[in-house]
Amino acid sequence: MKKTATFLFVVIGLILIWQAVILIFKLPDYILPTPAAVLHVGYARANLIASEALITITETLIGLILGVILGCIAALVMVFCRPLKLWLLPLLIISQAIPTFAIAPLLVIWFGYGMASKIATTIIMLFFPVTSAFYDGLRRTDQGWIDLANTMNAKKWRFFWYIRIPAALPSFASGLRVATAIAPIGAVVGEWVGASRGLGFLMLNANARMQIDLMFAGLFTLVIFSLGLYFIVDKTLRWAIPWQKV
């Protein structure tokens, strides 16, 4: 309850500062629209914003789910197959070293103007944090548990399933949190490079046409979605993995 109150207080405070900045510096609408103007355009064009948001949300969620699945598989492959690890690790680091912006146009050429290329940019952005977090977790099983399983003559796969994976979940969860936070960025980057739908496309277009209020309305929609998604994922992880030290 207190948290909600603090949150509301911060939001209202930021809006007031925003309005104050416009009044003090006498900023025109095309530089910084007033909160009221943004709210108004958000309401007047709610249908447009909602239908574009739906595209971005779909891309983000599919990208997130596929990226997390692929990231987990990569981590498991690296744990189980050392020769493959030698190949996979440089590839992973390269995928992180190359700016996604730079290869996004290429992805559009490969996967087309539709959702697939946006899902691909999202996957590339969040693959690495998931893989490295899960891989680290899998490698850092408590020595005590390894010894215990050893004296108990544990079967390798059972040890993996009942001890190593659950022990790695808190670490995986922090990777998933990072992935959740950057997934919408991945989708929007993809939309900027080449798209005919989505919030990124809407914002880019509005910007080009000096409809700064519409651009802001799109931006806020994206922020609200990102915050909501993070909140849901975070709560779910806390509920599902109560043994993590948060």
Binding site: D142, G144, W145, D147, L148, A149, N150, T151, M152, N153, A154, K155, R158, F159, Y162, I163, P166, L169, P242, W243
Partner: protein, 239 residues
């Protein structure tokens, strides 16, 4: 005696520090043997060596004869108490109704029947250690190795756990590492002191009265001073 279990450690070293060289001793079958000594002398290493946990060494006894209780309870936070004490059977793929029944009986015996469905984080230190003890017993091995299992709980809880362990470990061959001379005198039949570098073992006391001994036990009182002196000497030669 032919019923003793002979332990021989040919050589054990960490980096360039030799912990043991040609170390022999006997574990009296069905008795509780305590291993005391200054910290850093290699008590835990010796226990781990016997348990077959020291990489690159050949364990002195068949691994299947041994169950091991470490310093920390090692309960798995994602399993409740019942699943935790059954982890051995589960890891071997041998979980059956009989195991579960046996586990429930033992949990009742240690006073944890109401905590079966609870998670480790909901238990006190003493309860966790009791659960770990049940897990060790469910392995049903003739030899039990324990590495300072009661060091993390308060004095009164430790006193109670010692009595409980004696009761549950009856007739098993137990090797208990401890830093607490009182714990050794309360629980052990034979007390060894480990000292020096490379470390050697000295039989410091053999006790015959019934365990667990209470604070007024004549044998406990008789050996208290001499054991303490032996530990002081052990610390001096190990530095």
């Amino acid at each position: 005696m032919s019923t003793d279990i002979a332990i021989h450690c040919l050589h054990l070293a960490y980096h360039d520090q030799v912990l043991f060289h040609d170390l022999h001793f006997n574990l009296a079958k069905g008795k509780l043997t305590c291993l005391l000594g200054p910290s850093g002398v290699g008590k835990s290493s010796l226990l781990r060596f016997i348990a077959g946990l020291e990489v690159g060494t050949k364990p002195p006894i068949d691994k299947n004869q041994i169950s091991y209780l470490a310093q920390t309870d090692l309960l798995l936070p994602w399993f409740n108490v019942l699943d935790n004490v059954l982890i051995g059977a589960r890891l071997r793929g041998q979980l059956a109704a009989a195991n579960i029944q046996h586990a429930k009986t033992l949990l009742t015996e240690v006073g944890l029947s109401n905590a079966e469905k609870k998670y480790p984080r909901q238990l006190s230190g003493g309860m966790r250690q009791r659960a770990a003890l049940v897990r060790t017993l469910l392995e049903d091995r003739p030899i039990v190795l324990m590495d300072e299992p009661f060091s993390a709980v308060d004095a009164i809880t430790r006193f109670q756990l010692q009595a409980l362990a004696i009761k549950l470990l009856k007739d098993r061959t137990v090797l208990l590492v401890t830093h607490d001379p009182f714990e050794a005198l309360r629980m052990a039949d034979n007390i060894y002191v480990l000292s020096g570098s490379p470390a050697t073992l000295t039989l410091a006391a053999q006790l015959h009265t019934n365990v667990p001994r209470d604070l007024h036990d004549p044998e406990l009182l008789q050996y208290q001073a001499s054991l303490f002196d032996a530990l002081v000497r052990a610390k001096e030669v190990s530095q």
